[in-house]
Every structure is written in structure tokens, then in C-alpha cells.
């Protein structure tokens, strides 16, 4: 019994060390690895200055993004990027993101209610 307990304790301690090590490595990796992607919310929040907090907009010249179908968002961003959809500054914004990032933002906005 005692031996088993000791083994168990040892196993726990080892697991903890491994976990801590992994956490450290993870933390270091997230400092340096630029392929790690910001969340849809982190990226989507940068749209809010024009398109409203969480994409919610009462009435304005800008398009509300809250509740927009994800495919529509992605299609629009691709069209802004390749220039097939004319824009003022959305081309400059769209070229700054990858397709995967469009998708993450699209899912963030699709999940937002149109009104608070």
C-alpha cells in the first residue's frame, strides 16, 4: 500500500513537473512563435471602431457585422483583399489577415446578437 502511495505521489510529482515544464515551454513558444493566431474576438475587436462594439451598429454608413453569416464575412474579406470588391480602406485591412483568420473573425461575429 505504502509503496503504491509513494509511487502514486512520485507519479503526481512527475506529472506536475512535466506539466510545469510544458507550461514554460508553451509560454516561451507563445512569446516567439508568430504562427500562433490571435482569437476571433481579439481580431474582431479591432473592427469595432467603425463597425461597432462586437459588430453591433444601430445606424451608420458602416456595415454591422454582428450576426453576419460566417461565409458572407469570409467572402467579403476575400473580395476586399483581391480587389474584386471596391472599397475605401477595407483593402488595406483585408490584406493584413489570412484566410484562417477571416474564418475565426467570421465565427466571432456570427455568434454575436444583432442587438444587446
Amino acid at each position: 500500500m505504502r509503496r503504491q502511495k509513494t509511487v502514486k505521489k512520485f507519479a503526481y510529482a512527475l506529472a506536475l513537473i512535466v506539466a510545469l515544464f510544458a507550461a514554460t515551454v508553451h509560454a516561451q513558444a507563445s512569446e516567439t512563435q508568430q504562427s500562433e493566431r490571435p482569437t476571433g474576438e481579439m481580431m474582431g475587436n479591432t473592427c469595432a471602431a467603425c463597425h461597432g462594439t462586437h459588430g453591433r451598429l444601430g445606424s451608420a454608413a458602416f456595415v454591422p457585422l454582428a450576426g453576419m453569416a460566417a461565409e458572407e464575412f469570409v467572402r467579403a474579406m476575400r473580395a476586399f483583399r483581391d480587389g474584386s470588391r471596391p472599397s475605401t480602406l477595407m483593402h488595406s485591412v483585408a490584406v493584413g489577415f489570412s484566410d484562417e483568420e477571416y474564418q475565426a473573425m467570421a465565427e466571432f461575429f456570427a455568434a454575436q446578437r444583432i442587438e444587446e
Binding site: 508553451h26 509560454a27 507563445s30 512569446e31 516567439t32 508568430q34 500562433e36 493566431r37 490571435p38 482569437t39 481579439m42 481580431m43 475587436n45 479591432t46 473592427c47 469595432a48 471602431a49 467603425c50 463597425h51 461597432g52 462594439t53 462586437h54 451598429l57 451608420a60 454608413a61 458602416f62 471596391p86 475605401t88 480602406l89 483593402h91 488595406s92 485591412v93 490584406v95 493584413g96 489577415f97
Partner: protein
């Protein structure tokens, strides 16, 4: 009082007080975040903290009960808006999100005990602090210029208020055919397109109200944002002749070509290479001595060099650059842990000092604070900046950038940044419409 004494003086009192209520970010049921400064950065941070977790107690300490927004404030000068339209109230942040406001001045922080004291005698404990102090203007850096000269005779009108009103009144009373001289600041400064937009908006106003007036922008720099797209706007609207070195890519035919004007127009920009650097000012004569000689003004507007707002110095957050060094991933000060610095006052590498930057920095910092309070890993940050600018009330320009963390620095993602030089008239007009709408949507994202 010296900065160190200032911190120490507070420290002694704070130690006693904090002994009674030991705060732990992990043990605390409702962590308390104190925000110093209720401008764009501070207000946005407060709101996004509450959006992320309504259980966090958020207190904003701000001097003025009514905020006067600097973005768009040059539009007071041409009477496009009135001073009262710059006013922003905090009611909605308080009522909708339960954010607490303390209209008071911070006189000291103890970063170890995590306490802050105000001039009004209030002491608060905090788990994390976000400081968004904006800028202060260094009037005395220009020989002959001072805060009192700025308040009475040569306004800077860069932090809106009395000086904005003074400059507006001077411009409207300027003699027919008079000269309005703007002295643009050296980098880095708040609102990069600002001095050039201001010159353009006044040239447009003079065309109607004082058609023989002149606008001269004196500069120590050789370029500015949004650069060629603004120069092209000046060419089209005010007869400005674009220097050879900026002409590449400008349309020479089509619906709205760049022209070579035989008579120079009413707007002139004297770059650093052409001697535009200001050496001294004579307030009595309203003249400016530059490397290119003396310029006589009828109305003189000087935007002096600037550094982080005073409270950033008081709290010992500033380094030799005059701004606050931070860990870019979280905006946490590298000088005092537990204090995050956002907005114009922080060192943000490639990001300009703008309201939009402060707004996205606030969101990054708020997210980091929430995660740190919860003991979670912080997220990969992402920032954006868009500066809309006007070359005329119906001539909209912009610079737009996405920023990412690369090797510990905030780095601009490569790509086209400006209004294309071959943009159509319609696009240009829509840009101006967007600029006006942005004033409202942006203010709502920050303050409502």
C-alpha cells in the same frame, strides 16, 4: 517633490493600510482594476474589462467630469462643428456597465502595496492598474514659446480646450490676405496627419471667407502620414505644387489629374530639407525664425514637441525616451509590475500615437488584465490603427494598418496603407463620409 520621494511618501501610509486587507489576485472574489485617465484609452479599457467579465470592479480616476475629445477637434477651427460637439460624457459607461468614476487627481501610487491615493484624499487598493495618461506639450522646447504664450497669443490647440477656441477666433478675425503659419511637431507626436489636415481645412475655409489668405506649414520632417495622398489632395483643391520626389504614381490624366500650377496656391509646406525647422519664435512680432529664414504670421499655431502625460512621470513609468516602456504582449510596464500603460504615453514601436491605436491597445491590455487576474495564459495580441484625415470636408484620406507582435516588437503588417493615388472621386467622397461616421461609431465604441 522628487519622483522617488513622491513614491516613498505614499508608500509609508500605504503599507499600513494594506496590512489590514491583504489582496491576492487569485483569492480576490471581485478583483479591482483602477484606471488612471478617462480618455480614449482609459474609457475603452474600462468598458472592455466589463464586457469580458462584469464581476471585475472597475474604477476610473479622471480629472475632468466631461471629456473633450481631441480627435476631430480641428473641425472646430473651420466651424464645421462647435466646441460643445467635442464633449463626451461618462454616463453611459457608468449606467450600462457599472463602471465607477472618481473625478479626482492621482497624487501617488505604491506599486508594491498596490494602492493609489488621490488629491481628494481617497485611497484605493487595486489588483491591477491601467494608466492612460495621454501626452503633455513641451512648450518651452521652442525658444520664445511657453505655456502662457500658448494660452494667450500663439495657441497650440493640440489638446482641445481654451486654445482651440482662441485659435478659431484668431483665424476668423485674421486680416484679409493674412498668413496662417502652422509649426508641425517632430516625431513622435499625437495624431500624425493632424497638422496637415488642419492646414488643409483652413485653406478650404479661407477659399470662401478670405480668398487671398495664405497657409504655411513649417516642418522639421521631410515626409508625413498620409504623405502623397494628402499632397495630391492639396494639389487638386488648393493649387499646391507637389514636389518632384512625391509625384510617382500620381495620375497625370483621367478624371482628376495632378496639375502643375503656374501660380503657387494658398497652401505651402516647408519641409525640413527646405529649411522648415523652427529655431525660435518672437511672440510679440508673431514671427518664426527657421533655417530657411524668417516667416511673418498673422495667426501662428505651434504644435510643440511632446512626451507622456505628467501622471506617467509622477508614477515613475517613463524612461529616457519620454514615454513608457512596456511588455508589448500585455502592455504591462517594464518599470512597475501590475501597472499597464496604454495610448499615446506608451512605447508602441510601429504604432502611431492616435485615438484608434489607444482604443485597440486598451482592448489588448484589458484582455491581458482579465487573463492575468484569472491566472490564465495571456492571448496573442493584435492591434489596428486607422487614421482618417481630410484634405477638404469632402475629400477623405486614410492610413490603415494591422499590427502584430513580432520578436517582442509591435510590427506593422506589410501591405498598402493609404488611399490609392488613382482613387476615384466617388471613393474620395465616401472616405470623407466615413470619416464623419467614424467620429460617431468610434466615440460609441470607447464611451458607450
Amino acid at each position: 517633490m522628487q519622483r522617488r520621494d513622491f513614491l516613498k511618501a505614499l508608500g509609508a501610509g500605504a503599507m499600513l493600510a494594506s496590512g489590514l486587507s491583504i489582496k491576492s489576485v487569485f483569492a480576490s472574489a471581485t478583483p479591482h482594476v483602477v484606471i488612471v485617465g478617462g480618455g480614449v484609452g482609459g474609457a475603452t479599457a474600462a468598458k472592455y474589462l466589463k464586457l469580458a467579465d462584469p464581476n471585475i470592479r472597475v474604477t476610473v480616476i479622471e480629472k475632468n467630469p466631461v471629456y473633450i475629445r481631441p480627435y476631430g477637434s480641428s473641425e472646430v477651427l473651420n466651424d464645421h462643428i462647435g466646441m460643445t460637439e467635442l464633449e463626451v460624457r461618462y454616463d453611459r459607461l457608468r449606467d450600462r456597465y457599472g463602471i465607477e468614476f472618481l473625478f479626482d487627481t492621482v497624487i501617488g501610487v505604491d506599486p508594491l502595496a498596490r494602492t493609489v491615493r488621490t488629491a481628494g484624499g481617497v485611497q484605493l487598493n487595486y489588483d491591477r492598474m491601467i494608466v492612460s495618461p495621454g501626452i503633455q506639450l513641451l512648450y518651452d522646447r521652442i525658444e520664445g514659446y511657453s505655456a502662457s504664450v500658448a494660452e494667450s497669443r500663439i495657441p497650440s490647440a493640440w489638446i482641445p480646450g481654451h486654445q482651440t477656441r482662441l485659435l478659431r477666433d484668431q483665424l476668423h478675425a485674421m486680416r484679409p490676405g493674412g498668413t496662417f503659419v502652422i509649426v508641425a511637431p517632430p516625431n513622435p507626436y499625437r495624431c500624425p496627419p493632424g497638422p496637415y489636415e488642419r492646414g488643409a481645412l483652413m485653406a478650404e475655409w479661407f477659399k470662401v471667407h478670405n480668398p487671398t489668405a495664405k497657409v504655411i506649414i513649417l516642418d522639421s520632417k521631410d515626409n508625413f502620414v498620409p504623405g502623397p495622398s494628402m499632397l495630391l489632395g492639396w494639389n487638386r483643391l488648393y493649387g499646391y505644387n507637389v514636389p518632384e520626389r512625391f509625384r510617382e504614381g500620381m495620375p497625370t490624366e483621367g478624371e482628376w489629374p495632378m496639375k502643375a500650377h503656374e501660380e503657387p496656391g494658398m497652401l505651402e509646406w516647408v519641409a525640413g530639407r527646405d529649411g522648415g525647422r523652427v529655431l525660435s519664435v518672437d511672440p510679440a512680432a508673431l514671427s518664426v525664425e527657421t533655417e530657411a529664414g524668417r516667416f511673418q504670421a498673422d495667426v501662428l499655431n505651434i504644435v510643440p514637441p511632446m512626451v507622456a502625460g505628467r501622471v506617467a512621470f509622477d508614477l515613475d513609468l517613463v524612461d529616457g525616451t519620454g514615454y513608457c516602456p512596456i511588455d508589448r504582449r500585455t502592455h504591462e510596464s517594464t518599470r512597475h509590475p501590475g501597472i499597464h500603460v496604454i495610448g499615446d504615453a506608451c512605447v508602441a514601436d510601429a504604432m502611431p500615437k492616435s485615438g484608434f491605436s489607444a482604443n485597440t491597445q486598451a482592448k489588448v491590455a484589458a484582455r491581458a488584465v482579465v487573463d492575468l487576474l484569472a491566472g490564465r495564459d495571456t492571448q496573442v495580441p493584435l492591434w489596428e490603427n486607422t487614421c482618417y484625415a481630410l484634405a477638404g470636408t469632402e475629400y477623405g484620406l486614410y492610413v490603415a494598418d494591422i499590427f502584430r507582435l513580432v520578436d517582442g516588437r509591435i510590427t506593422r503588417t506589410e501591405g498598402p496603407r493609404f488611399l490609392p493615388l488613382d482613387a476615384s472621386r466617388a471613393q474620395i467622397r465616401i472616405g470623407a463620409l466615413y470619416q464623419q461616421n467614424w467620429m460617431r461609431t468610434f466615440t460609441e465604441d470607447c464611451f458607450a
